[in-house]
């Protein structure tokens, strides 16, 4: 199966949030109890029952409204995903179509994925299940159950303006570049964290942070230090010490037996 990606073209998004509802619909996620906090934006944050949420950002110039930015907030499906690296149980993994999938059964609920994700996406919650109250991580699944059968993700399917497009990642990158050239915008996600599988075309050459996107997201250096250096070093150290002790045992025992015999 070829590598896929979702294109989010902020220049075409009008913030209708049909994607947000479609996500809940397809994935059978419950509505959350919310309140109006002085904004259209709701729920306040991503959660185990909100995998996709639209952010609204009012941008002003000289005190009056200049524009209203609508930004998609959901898993970016990184090529170098900190969550996959940090996941101790390998519940999170790379799907052959490029996105970051997870086997919820394997999830231990440690939450490392959430803490290491440069986009702060995965969420944990304790929920009642048939097996008791379990704490599990949830996030956008890329609608794996749809895309692996040739369908587009639910959010893409429902988008009225074509702000969301689903295709081969190569094609998506081409589209993004063309569109960015057309509207003098910028493409986000092409190269960061090895290339994401959600590619953004942003309204203008504004700080991506205005869209709530980190300027230079990275797999945290600590994750690499921890997973690629410290933990292997732990194995080595443990092994060397164990070996040393075994040697010590053999030598000490041999010498002591000899000594006894000598005595």
């Amino acid at each position: 199966m070829s590598e896929k990606a979702i294109l989010f073209d902020a220049t075409k998004c009008m913030g209708c949030r049909a994607c947000q509802v479609a996500c809940k619909g397809w994935n059978e996620l419950p509505g959350e109890e919310t309140s109006n906090r002085g904004t259209y934006e709701n729920p306040p944050d991503l959660s185990t029952t909100t995998w996709l949420k639209m952010k609204f950002g009012e941008v002003s110039s000289n005190g009056s409204i200049a524009t209203w930015l609508f930004t998609r907030r959901a898993c970016m499906h990184c090529t170098d995903a900190a969550c996959v690296k940090a996941c101790p149980t390998k519940a999170l993994y790379y799907h052959e179509m490029g996105f970051v999938a997870y086997n919820k059964d394997l999830c231990s609920g440690c939450g490392y994925c959430q803490e290491f994700c440069p986009f702060d996406v995965p969420r944990l919650a304790s929920t009642k299940t048939d097996d008791g109250v379990l704490s599990k991580m949830d996030k956008c699944t890329f609608c794996a159950d749809r895309v692996t059968r040739g369908e587009v993700p639910a959010c893409v399917k429902t988008c009225p303006t074509g702000a969301l497009v689903f295709d081969d990642r190569d094609r998506i990158l081409e589209m993004a570049d063309d569109r960015a050239a057309e509207v003098n915008g910028v493409v986000y996600g092409k190269d960061v964290v090895g290339g994401t599988h959600v590619i953004y075309v942003l309204d203008r050459e504004v700080d991506p942070e205005l869209h709530g996107l980190p300027k230079d997201p990275k797999v945290p250096a600590l994750a690499t230090a921890w997973k690629d250096i410290l933990q292997p070093a732990g194995y080595v150290l443990g092994g060397v010490v164990a070996l040393g002790l075994a040697m010590n045992y053999m030598v000490a025992r041999a010498r002591m037996v000899k000594e006894k015999e000598g005595r």
């Binding site: 101790p88 390998k90 519940a91 999830c107 231990s108 379990l134 921890w226 410290l230 732990g234 002591m256």
Partner: protein
Amino acid sequence: MQHEVERFRARSRWLHWAIVLASAALLLTGAFLYVDQWGIAAQDGWSRLIHRIMGVVFVGVPLLYFLITPGRTLAWIKEVFSWGRDDIEWLKAAPEYYFGGDESRMPPQPHMNSGQKMWALVAVVCGVGLAITGLIMWFFKGDVGPGVFQWSVFFHDVFVIAGGTMTLVHVYLGAVHPRMTESLKSMFTGKVSAEYAKSHYGKWYREVAGHKEVAQESPGAQSEA
């Protein structure tokens, strides 16, 4: 019948075995998240529940011990952190001694020899480190920011690697090493033979034997090996 001296009081032995139990469980359940192939054992988070319960034991039992015998605990900690000329002598002599060399070359040791002190030091530092980083990950997730959390994860592993490796050494010396014949037994009964005491902890033995053949309430009485 061989003459015996009391080396560990019951309270210390209970402390030791409680920590052994907790550490073993913590190490095992922790290993589920360390060893890739074992991850499946952590699914649904039951191992985390055990890890947390044992974490409470691991932190709680020593704290309780401290509350019951604060003076002695502080004195013990002070001893663990006080290093001097004798320790250097020990360090010089130790390799030969532990590799089955001439026993007599080892200077006589107090209730807790330098090696045990070293172990105690690592155990205290790693134990405290594990407890702090563990508590952060348990209780302050989301409040401390991802940076602090990530450092906590990292240092939890640093401490577990350091502490775990030293635990290997400790278990080996306590239970396996051909020279430490009565060490493990003493952690159950509290007693060692006078001969064993004389040869392994000459300084301490002289101290106790100088009065009567019973363990004194010396600061070293809390030693864990």
